[in-house]
Each structure stands twice: as structure tokens, then as C-alpha cells.
Amino acid sequence: MKAQKNSLIFLGILAICSISLQSCIDNTTKKEYASAADIPVSREMKAELTAPPNVPRGVGDRKAKKLIVNMEIIEKEGTMTDGTTYNYWTFGGSVPGSFIRTRVGDEVEFTLSNHPDNKLPHNIDLHAVTGPGGGATSSFVAPGHEKKFNFKTLNEGLYVYHCATAPVGMHIANGMYGLILVEPKGGLPRVDKEYYIMQGDFYTKGENGDPGLQPFDMQKAVDEDADYVVFNGSVGALTGDNAITADVGETVRLYVGNGGPNLVSSFHVIGEIFDKVMVEGGNSINENVQTTLIPAGGAAIVEFRVDVPGTFILVDHSIFRAFNKGALGMLKVKGEENKTIYSGVVQEGIYHPEGGGIQEMPDDGKAVAKKTSANKSLAEKMESGKQIYAKTCFACHQANGEGIPNAFPPLAESDYLNADVNRTIDIVLNGKTGEITVNGQKYNSVMTKQAISNEEVADVLTYVYNSWGNNKTNVSEAQVEQVKSGH
């Protein structure tokens, strides 16, 4: 307590000093306030609210204002993943709810309206509010009604808001969360691109991927056994056409929240390092971070400059959530390659532990491999192919070739695969970028070229073609060789 008082005095002195300091330099100077509570507001302004992944314009150097925020609660059915729907409860019609952008000292007049068609009462707890329940006590509102309350933003930072009506867990699990940003005086430094991303876990009666309208499953929620872990409310909300974008050389800032209700996020962007992380959305800045932890009911601001083009995958690095439950997004970066920063594959070779580094595959070795391959039975190829698949393909195309909706196309019963064997071989050898249509679904993703031998290509494709209802093509090494040399 005493320490706090001392530090307050110290802050006060600091503030006075900075005033006098400033007044020496500039006599027309603006006032500084010892406490955010003392910042006066001038005029009224209606807050711009945005649905994810967009954020409203920054506050820049505007003065603190009376900020009018009108938020509507809508209970509605939406798509969780292809063929699966869910009854979402939303702030502003989206999951996460509308992004609110304020500056420190603003006096927010918050009106929460509950749509007449809704079945349940709701409220809002904004972590940016200093006061009982974060506003929840003052905003409890029946369907067809509205409640108004005021608060002053005292602390800068990025904060979660959520519904806090009983049962709180269920309201949050159904999507009732979002972010409110309180910028410092003068605003956050300008960057080129800003996006709004929020993770949430969902619990459905059926398993992940079960079709139809899936009701909420309370028991799974209590057990913390999530069926979906997603960014921005649904699988694929940030992939394919919904991917966020940037150009090479730009600085990207992500406002990342985690609504929970249960899981903590290990937020990571594959192939990028966060130059700056405002840890937990507060003032502490960490630099050069690979993965940042975002607690349930917490947030972080991450910034990085994108230096090379390509598709960068956003994941919760609790990685099964990313590849099996949906916690996967994409940042597509366009622009010039920079071979110094990232070369792509320069050389392929085999590794001799006793021979000192990477060497070219010797001719005689190749001949031997060819011989064994030619003599291999289908069963042997299947066996070897299965192992290669597990090491190389499984992560994206999944254990039974089912792929991941909107991200990675299926290999099971795949019309695209069965239509053209040589095209498939070519994709494995050389990679594939751009839009393709598989079983009627569009995919716009990236497959890198695979660093495996011709024999391995033949084996793994034979395995794929002889599994999961495909056309049983037996791919030979010679065929792979032919496609390779044809290029």
C-alpha cells in the first residue's frame, strides 16, 4: 500500500516534471494528467465497430471523447465447418464479437441491446472496465430490451469482453466474447496492416466433422474435451479466400484474443518470428518471440515485418488443435522473393553419417534402388508407402486421407487425384500453389515440394491410390522418373 502510494507520488512528480519540461520547450503545450480518471472529454462520437478480422481505424491523436458504443446481441445459426452448423450467441452478429477501439480517458456510453427474437437474457463483462462485474451487473438485459451504462477507460491495453450470465461457461462456449482496445494517448505506433483474431473452443454433441446442426454439449465442456478449437468462430474463417493478407516489407499487427472457455492458446505463426509482443495485451514488450501464450480470457498484441512472400500458417501450437480441430489460419504475403532470407530448396542429397556431410546421390546407389523397387510386390510397396505417408503426408492430409476442410484437400475418394496420375506425381515432386477443385470443394493452399526419392514417391503414391476408395493405380519408379525428366 505504502509502496503504491510512493510510486503514485513518484508518478505525480514525474508528471509535473514532464509538464514543466515540456513547457520549457513549447509554451503552447497540452496538459498532462496524473491520472487517466482526470482526463476531460470533449464532444461525443459514435464508435466504429468491426467484425473480425477487421479492426476500426486507430485513435491517432484525437482527444478523449464521449464514445457511444451500441452493441446488439444476436442468437443465430451459423456454419462451424462444411456441413456442420451451430447455434452461436453473438455480440454484434459475429464470433468473436465486434472490435471496440477506444483511447485512454474516453468516457464510453455503452448500450447493450438484446434482440427480441433471442431466448435468453445476457450481459457484458468488459475487462477494460474498472467497476463491479466489469459492467455485468449493470448490463443484464432481457430479450427485446436494452441497458445503458457508462465507464471511463483508465488503463491502456487490449482486453477481452464476454457475457457473464449464468451459466457463464455456456454463454462463452457459444461465442459470446470479443476484444476492446484501449490505446494510449496519441495512439499505438502506425503499422501497415492490422487484424483481429480470436481463438475459441467449442463443444458439440457430435464429434468433429459430424454433419448437421450440432447442439452444445455441456458435459464435454465441463470435461474440457473440445471438438473444435478455431480462430474467429469457425473452421476456415481465416483460410483460403478468408486468409488475411500483407505485402512483402509491411509490418503486420495482430490483435489476438482467446475467448476460451477452457483452453489456453500457444499462438504461433509458422515461418515468422514476432518482432514485438505486447505480452498479455499489457505494457510489457517482449522481442523476438516464436510462440506467445494467450490465456483464456486474455489477449496479446503481436507485430512482425513480413520479409518474404508465401503463405504463413497461424496455429495454436498445441498442434493437434491446429490440424485436427481447426485452430488454423493463413496469412498470405505477396511480393518479391528474397533468396538471402529464404532460399527454398537449393540442393537435394543423401546423408552419409560417416562420409562428412551432404553428397549427391551416387549413380551406383540409384541403380541398386531401381532394382529393388522393380522387384517390390504391391504389398511391399504398400507397407513402405504407409510409413512414408505417416512421416510426410499425414500432418496435412490426415490419417485416412480425409484432409482438412478449407485448408488441405482430401486424398480419400478424390476425383482430382484419380483423374491424372502424372499430375499427382508432378505435385509431389514439384509442389503446388493456387486454387484447385477437389470433390466439388475449392482449395487454395500451398503444398511444398517433397524431398523424397523417386522410389519413395512411387511407394507412397501406390499406397495412396490403393487406399480409401481410390482407383488402385500401381505407380512405378520408372513412371516417377519419366515425369521428373519430362520437366
Partner: protein
């Protein structure tokens, strides 16, 4: 005298069911532990009669024709908010999408209370309503069954059930329909259990909200299904109206004993 009235009533039922009181069934009283929020753990309910169905648009239409002060243009602002009978086209015409035998909605507590009084009935107390609503098709207290709770929770998520007609959900042990699955229903003492809206605060304060062991022995599902009913009641004021909120009436049994 009452028997005579009842006889008339039955006679009338044969001729026209519009002019007579809606059908009621007998609920046998008993002692039970409400899930949440009363002064003592156990509550004793006397025998009573309960309407089989929620009050319908048609029935309420008859009421406002007889008592114009409850018509939508006439009602006192003190007794009903602006949403009162919102979807009705006029004082005595339903909206295009409204069925005569759908539950009447957008009704204030004052209006519901007046309706029941005019029928010689009253609104049920929370305890009576909850007691009758513990039943599923087969048993009087099904609260511990997973299926029972899942049904209720499932309904909470299903949009726009207020457009369905009365009797479209299950008939419970007592012969009562639609206690779960159609609309919320007013109770006479709807706001006597204070839910502040800040549900987390309610957990540890001393206002008897949890009533100790009553809630502790219950399963999570059971808690949640009931929590939401109490939360909804707690969000209301007597003049409020809601699209998902109707009502039904009850009557004391001893009134009719002789």
C-alpha cells in the same frame, strides 16, 4: 354452486371451447428441494390445478375483447412496455404469421396476472411451476435424468419456438404440456429470487441464492438447465414483455373442494 358452474362449463365445452375456461389437470402436492434459491431447503406444495396448455392467442383475444383496457392501444404504460402484443396487427387482430392456438407472447406480468384473476385463477408461484416442471413423460421428478436436462438445454438453443402451437411438445407425468420447449412462462413471484445478472457474484454471496446442499448434490446439467430459467426470470420487470415469454394459470384445489 361451483359444481353447478363446473357442469355448465363442461356443457359449454361440448358446444364451444372458446367460451369456457381452458382445461386444467390436478397436480398432487408434495415436498421437494428446489434446485436453487429459496429460504429453506425443502418446499411443500399443496395440491393444485394447472392449465394443461399455456394461454393461447385466441384465449387472450377473447379476454381483451371483454376487457378493452388490456388492448394494445389502451394499456397503461405502467403495466406494459412498448413491446406489448407487438406482433398483433390491431387491438383485436393477430399478425399474419401468428396462429390462433399458438401461445400468447409479448405479455406483461400485469396483463397475465389480470387474465388469470378474471378466470378465477392465478399465476403459479415459482415453486409450483418448478414442481410441475420437474416431470418428464413418465415420472414426477426427472431432474436427474440426462435426457430430461438435454431436452431443456436443447430448447434453449433452438430459435423461434414461440411460433409453434400449444401442445406441440411433450405431455408430462401430470398431463401438462409445453412446460419446456415452447415459451418461458410468467410466475407470480418471478423476481423473488434475486439473480443479479452477475452470476459469478451470486455464487459466493450470502443471499441464500444457492441454498447450500441443494445445488451441490445436483449434476452440472441439472444446475445449468435451471440456472437459465432463474436467470431469465431475474432479468424481468413486471411491465416487461418478451417474444419468448407467455404464461398459464393455476388454481388452488381446496377452493373447489365443495
Amino acid at each position: 354452486m361451483i359444481i353447478l358452474r363446473l357442469t355448465f362449463c363442461i356443457l359449454f365445452l361440448w358446444m364451444s371451447n372458446a367460451n369456457c375456461q381452458s382445461k386444467m389437470v390436478s397436480i398432487k402436492g408434495g415436498t421437494y428441494i428446489p434446485l436453487y434459491g429459496r429460504d429453506s431447503l425443502k418446499v411443500t406444495i399443496s395440491d393444485f390445478y394447472m392449465d394443461v396448455y399455456p394461454v393461447t392467442n385466441n384465449e387472450f383475444m377473447g379476454f381483451v375483447k371483454k376487457f378493452p383496457k388490456w388492448q394494445k392501444s389502451e394499456v397503461k404504460k405502467l403495466f406494459a412496455d412498448a413491446g406489448y402484443l407487438m406482433n398483433w396487427k390491431s387491438n383485436t387482430t393477430l399478425g399474419d404469421n401468428q396462429a390462433l392456438n399458438a401461445p400468447v407472447i409479448n405479455i406483461s406480468w400485469f396483463a397475465a396476472n389480470a387474465y388469470c384473476e378474471c378466470q378465477g385463477k392465478r399465476l403459479p408461484t415459482i415453486d409450483e411451476w418448478e414442481y410441475a416442471a420437474m416431470a418428464n413423460e413418465e415420472m414426477p421428478d426427472a431432474r436427474k435424468l440426462k435426457t430430461y436436462n438435454e431436452y431443456i438445454l436443447g430448447w434453449y438453443e433452438r430459435p423461434k419456438t414461440f411460433n409453434n402451437i400449444v401442445g406441440s411438445t411433450f405431455k408430462n407425468y401430470w398431463g401438462v404440456y409445453d412446460l419446456h420447449g415452447l415459451v418461458w412462462e410468467w410466475t407470480s413471484d418471478f423476481n423473488s429470487v434475486m439473480v443479479s445478472g452477475e452470476s459469478r457474484k451470486d455464487v459466493d454471496n450470502d443471499s441464500n441464492l444457492f441454498c447450500g446442499s441443494a445445488a451441490i448434490g445436483a449434476t452440472d446439467l441439472m444446475n445449468y438447465a435451471a440456472f437459465m430459467r432463474y436467470a431469465t426470470r431475474g432479468s424481468l420487470k413486471a411491465k416487461y414483455t418478451m417474444k419468448n415469454l407467455g404464461f398459464r394459470c393455476v388454481k388452488d384445489k381446496n377452493n373447489e373442494a365443495f
